[in-house]
């Protein structure tokens, strides 16, 4: 599997990265080199193998349904790049 320039553009958009022309070129090369290295996995027979998502044999870790104090609103927005009162501000979003 080799990624084309167009594939890379699609992945960049999904990743929300506006890549420069130069980066796009460089990444296409690097990513394809990595993908080649991934190919060796295909030689392994893994049909009867369960995938590992978690390495620890732990189940059912739940929290009691108790409320705790929240952050003061001024702390919530303390790091906000653009803030109006206690709200974060973003460029207008077309309703979906």
């Amino acid at each position: 599997m080799r990624l084309t320039r167009q594939d890379i553009e699609g992945v960049a958009h999904l990743s929300r990265l506006e890549l420069s022309e130069e980066e796009m070129e460089k990444l296409t090369g690097h990513i394809n080199r990595l993908l080649e290295n991934f190919e060796e996995l295909q030689e392994l027979d893994t049909d009867d193998i369960e995938p590992t998502s978690h390495v620890i044999p732990v189940y059912n870790v739940f929290r009691e349904d108790k409320s705790r104090p929240s952050l003061p609103p001024e702390e919530v927005v303390a790091n906000g790049p653009q803030v109006d009162g206690a709200c974060f501000v973003v460029p207008r979003v077309v309703e979906t």
Partner: protein, 498 residues
């Protein structure tokens, strides 16, 4: 040329006769009524100042980690069991990745290929026909924050709702054998109402559509009857009441049918219901991004549900609406239509159940509750749970009707008084002197007076205008302040007027 008579293009008969069949899928989101959020300790509430119920976890601050609220899982498992779903023995959370400013991590913790509950149904009855609407899955996720559109080129973001436990219930189209799918606006509304009723009985959500704690996004398509392949579907958003669900689905079905009949095609899209204009309109969706890149949430360990736990939950479930309705019919012998009304809310059903148990006349209890009681509830805008009226009140009133202390007309006044003041019926009768007059002498005097006062009506009555008897009864009742025993009045009137 009259186009009514001479169509421009004669349409072959067979084409005009194509009958379309709707297929409606329902995706319902319900916020669970837990004390704290799905993955953190912030309070679950509605409204309030922006960003006052937020913490590092529900803001998705770097380094924060989710911890599952055990009660949310229990609530959801209860709901799944109540919908006759099987509980998946091992269930995990997945991340659903997409970018949106109301989603603080830019992924939603949700479930993907092993949801907590699968393969259930919701029973609906429309036009006397009962159907089991197949439910494909019930899964758990977290709610998003809210975007507030302000003046100018900006939106505000409030994360109070972010992380509220959200249950998603999705129907199955096509349904498996023995089950049905939703095929009309009426059924869509009924499905939603039945679902709401069950969830309210379980006490897992307040299911307020207007506050968004119950949200519904139907997807709608039509296909020529008999065709197996589904037509192109559209999804409707912004349905904030049962009424708008009905109207929105109805509108969309008609729009699609008209489109197809005119030779057009349905475009797969999301359409927004505009309540004030009574129509759906295409949303200017920038792009449909269905590439969610689901993968198992590494921050949360898997959940395992032992059958003991599931059975314990099952046996802890309250009697559900349909079971209750059937029991009311068989145990108390009341009419199905009354039973339906009574089980509509748990409070109403409990009021009836507790009252009917203690009387010899459950039908009368059903009549009083579905009639006077609901009239007063609606007229005063009182919540059933807030009324002063208890089963003891109704029992007491039915007793004194039966033993002839008051008649049915007076009883209405007494009922309203009980409703307003919380006093018992006998006390009201005593205080207001409403005891029924059965003394023939007193009633006779009143009858005589009415006959003497109304010579014209007497003459007309005697000339054959028999319906005037009601007029005389009314007059006598007025003379006795409504307390006369109606039987005695009728008997005396008959005698005196010959």
């Amino acid at each position: 040329m009259n186009r009514d008579i001479y169509p421009l293009f004669p349409i072959p008969c067979s084409l005009t006769m194509i009958e379309y069949e709707p297929v409606i899928g329902m995706e319902v989101h319900v916020e669970l009524q837990t004390e704290s959020k799905m993955f953190c300790g912030c309070k679950v509430d509605f409204g309030g100042d922006p960003n006052t119920r937020c913490c590092p976890v529900c803001l998705g601050l770097p380094g924060s980690l989710p911890v599952v609220n055990g009660r949310a899982i229990e609530y959801m498992a209860k709901a799944a069991i109540a919908l006759d779903c099987s509980i998946t023995p091992q269930s995990i959370f997945h991340r659903k990745n997409y970018y949106y400013p109301d989603l603080p991590k830019n992924y939603q913790i949700s479930q993907y290929d092993n949801p907590l509950g699968v393969d259930g149904y919701v029973e609906i009855t429309v036009g006397g026909i009962t159907k089991k609407i197949a439910v494909r899955r019930v899964h758990m996720e977290e709610d998003t924050g809210k975007l507030i559109h302000v003046e100018g080129n900006f939106s505000h973001v409030d994360y109070n709702r972010s992380g509220v436990p959200l249950m998603e219930i999705v129907t199955m189209n096509p349904p498996p054998p023995g089950y049905d799918q939703i095929q009309s606006a009426d059924e869509a509304r009924e499905y939603l109402q039945r679902l709401r009723q069950i969830l309210l009985y379980l006490g897992v959500s307040d299911c307020k559509m207007e506050e968004g704690s119950m949200r519904c996004e139907p997807n709608i398509s039509i296909r020529p009857k008999g065709q197996e392949k589904f037509g192109t579907k559209t999804e409707i958003k912004n349905l904030n009441s049962f009424r708008s669900v009905y109207l929105g689905v109805e509108y969309e079905l008609k729009r699609q049918e008209k489109l197809l009949r005119e030779g057009g095609t349905v475009v797969q899209e999301t359409r927004r219901w505009d309540d004030s204009r009574g129509m759906t309109a295409s949303m200017r969706t920038k792009e449909v991004e269905q590439e969610y890149r689901y993968f198992p949430e590494p921050d949360l360990v898997p959940m395992r549900f032992e059958s003991d736990w599931i059975e314990n939950l099952r046996s802890s479930l309250p009697e559900l609406p349909m079971a209750k309705r059937d029991r009311f019919i068989s145990q108390y012998g009341i009419a199905e239509v009354d039973a339906e009304v009574l089980v509509d809310s748990l409070d109403l059903a409990n009021l009836f159940d507790n009252t009917a148990k203690h009387t010899k006349d459950p039908k009368a209890v059903a009549n009083w509750i579905t009639g006077e009681f609901l009239r007063l509830i609606n007229a005063t805008g009182t919540a059933i749970s807030d009324t002063k009226l208890t089963s003891k009140h109704i029992c007491g009133m039915i007793d004194i009707i039966e033993n002839g202390t008051i008649n049915r007309n007076i009883a209405k006044t007494v009922f309203e008084d009980m409703f307003n003041t919380g006093k018992q019926a006998d006390q009201i009768v005593e205080e207001k002197g409403l005891k029924q007059v059965t003394d023939t002498g007193a009633i006779e005097a009143a009858v005589d007076k009415v006959i003497a006062d109304c010579p014209n009506e007497v003459e007309r009555f005697k000339a054959g205008e028999e319906r005037l008897v009601g007029f005389f009864v009314g007059k006598v009742m007025k003379e006795t302040q409504g307390k006369a025993n109606p039987g005695v009045v009728n008997k005396l009137l008959k005698e005196k007027l010959g």
